[in-house]
């Protein structure tokens, strides 16, 4: 309830601001990602003489904000932040998003189909990956797969997974020998979810932290609290830049796209589209954004701009795409509620 009240208060503060017609309110999750967006897209856009002024709005939850803006008919975002997993389908199905006219936005077909859902633009992708502290591995051994992560005898050390069934059920099935391409087939089949939970039961005693915010496992890897932890690829790559001996496991990592959307009834849809064109459809800016945030562009011409060494840590590099699981938001949209309840109860045991 406290969060609710906080939420409504911050909303009230937002509403209190003056909403100028030519302002484009770009919502995102802030932090280093927000800083990069500001420098690479917002500031140049505001100096481009487009007649629009983009303004950053920081939020920590996309879906709840989107819902309340629609419920109260008070839309304060022109661009919503990336919708993770099934959140995009939830928002789209509830009619909270504007449709994208791709023929007008991308007439030359620069973007691949995967980047062009009906209600958003997914020009980049990120992965949920395993971060491995290489100095904590037994002498001469490498952790190469989820089966290795599950192998506590051979690879001892404190571990961390996200406190969510999403992706963990997939990782468990891969640890149980299911190839990445067949994971959702197994999950949809009779007994598939049971099999995943059973496998998760094996690793549960070795998970010291079940994280809820992606910075937790990263902080744990940095301090040595954790030896092996899942997080988002960009954050693990940042640790590397800070000289933490850490490696990303691409085999069986989960590739996500999180579409950038326009809320239904956005006050400045025209400005939002201008901003999207300026920022997300400009390969030069995507190169910079990718370099700054570790997200991988889905534009092949952007990926080509990076060195082989840089591509090794990029989710959309060819060799990494080949070994990853692509998350199926539809599965989670259909099954999240039921599996989530089971997850919470499983956590209590």
């Amino acid at each position: 309830m406290f969060r609710l009240i906080l939420g409504t208060t911050s909303l009230a503060l937002l509403l209190g601001g003056t909403a100028m017609a030519d302002t484009v309110r770009v919502a995102n999750y802030g932090g280093s990602f927000g800083d990069a967006m500001n420098k690479i897209c917002l500031e140049p856009f505001n100096n481009s003489g487009s007649g629009h002024t983009a303004e950053q709005v920081v939020t920590d939850n996309m879906l709840a904000q989107l819902k309340i803006q629609q419920d109260t008919k008070n839309v304060v975002w022109d661009i919503a932040p990336g919708a993770e997993g099934e959140a995009y389908i939830t928002a789209k199905t509830n009619g909270w998003l504007e449709t994208f006219d791709w023929a007008a936005l991308d007439p030359d077909g620069k973007l691949p189909a995967v980047a062009k859902p009906d209600h958003g633009i997914a020009s980049s992708a990120y992965s949920s990956t395993l971060g491995i502290r290489t100095d904590k591995l037994p002498q001469g051994k490498e952790m190469k797969s989820w089966a290795d992560f599950w192998n506590v005898a051979e690879f001892p050390g404190p571990r961390s997974l996200r406190n969510s069934p999403v992706e963990n059920l997939e990782f468990a099935l891969m640890a149980d020998g299911v190839p990445a391409k067949e994971v959702y087939g197994v999950l949809r089949s009779e007994g598939g979810v049971d099999r995943a939970f059973k496998k998760l039961g094996e690793i549960k005693p070795s998970i010291v932290q079940w994280w809820t915010s992606a910075q937790q496992p990263v902080q744990g890897l940095a301090s040595g609290e954790l030896s092996f932890a899942t997080s988002f690829n960009g954050r693990i790559a940042n640790l590397k830049k800070d000289n933490v001996p850490v490696k990303i496991m691409w085999d069986g990592a989960s590739l996500n796209t999180s579409p950038i959307t326009i809320p239904a009834g956005a006050p400045n849809k025209e400005g939002a589209l201008a901003f999207i064109k300026f920022c997300y459809l400009d390969p030069a800016r995507m190169v910079e954004l990718s370099r700054a945030t570790g997200t991988g562009s889905l534009l092949p011409e952007v990926v080509k701009q990076f060195s082989a060494e840089e591509q090794a840590d990029m989710p959309t590099a060819e060799q990494n795409l080949a070994v990853q699981l692509v998350i199926d938001p539809q599965f989670w949209y259909e099954n999240r509620a039921k599996i989530q309840k089971r997850w919470e109860e499983w956590m209590l045991q």
Binding site: A64, V208, Q216, Q219, G224, Q340, M347
Partner: protein, 299 residues
């Protein structure tokens, strides 16, 4: 919350003053208006909306309450939230009481300096204070390094993500509040009462137990209730320092609001928490009054 340092009732309250204040109550009620208006708009109205959400989906329904009380999950977590909050509040009061006594019995000149020391932690955000535990008690943190250097343990101790550290961090956040509330109550206790008891032959311990403790009871009650109510809403501490076995009801509400968008359920959880919180706080206040009642001593 109507209780706070400002409304802590002291020991020495003169009958005549009470009569005067009661007589003037009607005419000065307007003094409450600004606060009442603010609370009505920013507090009462949203709570009414939350109540409504908890009882209405497409029509009036009790399904959300049935879901809460019908599932082991929510019952377990609700019970856990109450136990955590109670233990943390009691610990804060027990640890804070001697400190408050120390403060209240300092000469006026040095009192403020001591008070500043107690309040200093409040200048640091509770998020940072919580994070500092992660660093201090980590496997490779200073505490474990010291223990290993001293040869007290050869393997780092797993302090984080357990119950002990959640309690420690909760008490750390609550302690300055508990101390200042009890201190404010103790200030209004006439030291001459203790002197009188001593002159009449009471030992220092007896005088404390029979005179000072009962007079400080309202401060204890206020501190206990406020710490308890604050703990009920703790969110960051169990989230960052505890494991799934430390998840509290606010973490479930967060999940329901932000991830699964089950707002009716979240509202019902909020209402249950509010009502149970009020009930337990009431019982607490009553129990303390009973326990510390001075018996035959005139009040």
């Amino acid at each position: 919350m109507s209780t706070g340092p400002a409304s802590v009732s002291g020991g020495a309250r003169w009958r005549s003053w009470r009569i005067v204040s009661m007589r003037s109550e009607g005419s000065s009620a307007w003094l409450l208006a600004p606060a009442a208006l603010l609370l009505a708009v920013c507090f009462v109205a949203p709570i009414l909306v939350v109540f409504r959400w908890s009882f209405f989906a497409d029509g009036p329904t009790l399904e959300f309450y049935r879901e809460i009380f019908g599932s082991t999950l929510y019952r377990t977590i609700l019970a856990r939230t109450l136990v955590f909050s109670l233990v943390a509040a009691v610990l804060s009061v027990v640890i804070g009481y001697p400190a408050a006594y120390f403060l209240a019995t300092r000469p006026v000149r040095t009192r403020m300096n001591w008070l500043a020391v107690v309040l200093l932690p409040l200048w640091v955000s509770s998020l940072i204070r919580t994070y500092s535990w992660l660093i201090l008690l980590g496997r490779e943190g200073p505490a474990n390094m010291a223990l290993m250097a001293l040869g007290l343990t050869d393997q780092p101790i797993q302090f984080l993500y357990g119950r002990g550290i959640v309690y420690a961090a909760m008490v750390q956040v609550l302690l300055p509040m508990a101390v200042t509330i009890m201190y404010a109550g103790m200030l209004s206790i006439e030291q001459t009462f203790i002197k009188a008891a001593r002159i009449l032959g009471a030992s220092p311990a007896y005088a404390f137990r029979k005179v000072f403790l009962p007079l400080s009871a309202s401060g204890i009650t206020n501190a206990l209730v406020i710490c308890f109510v604050l703990s009920l809403g703790f969110f960051i501490t169990p989230n960052l320092l505890g494991g799934p076995r430390e998840a509290m009801i606010s973490n479930m509400i967060d999940r329901a609001v932000n991830e699964s968008l089950e707002w009716n359920l979240a509202a019902a959880l909020g209402v249950v928490l509010l009502l149970v919180g009020i009930a337990v706080a009431g019982i607490l206040a009553f129990a303390i009054r009973l326990l510390t009642s001075p018996g035959r001593m005139p009040r």
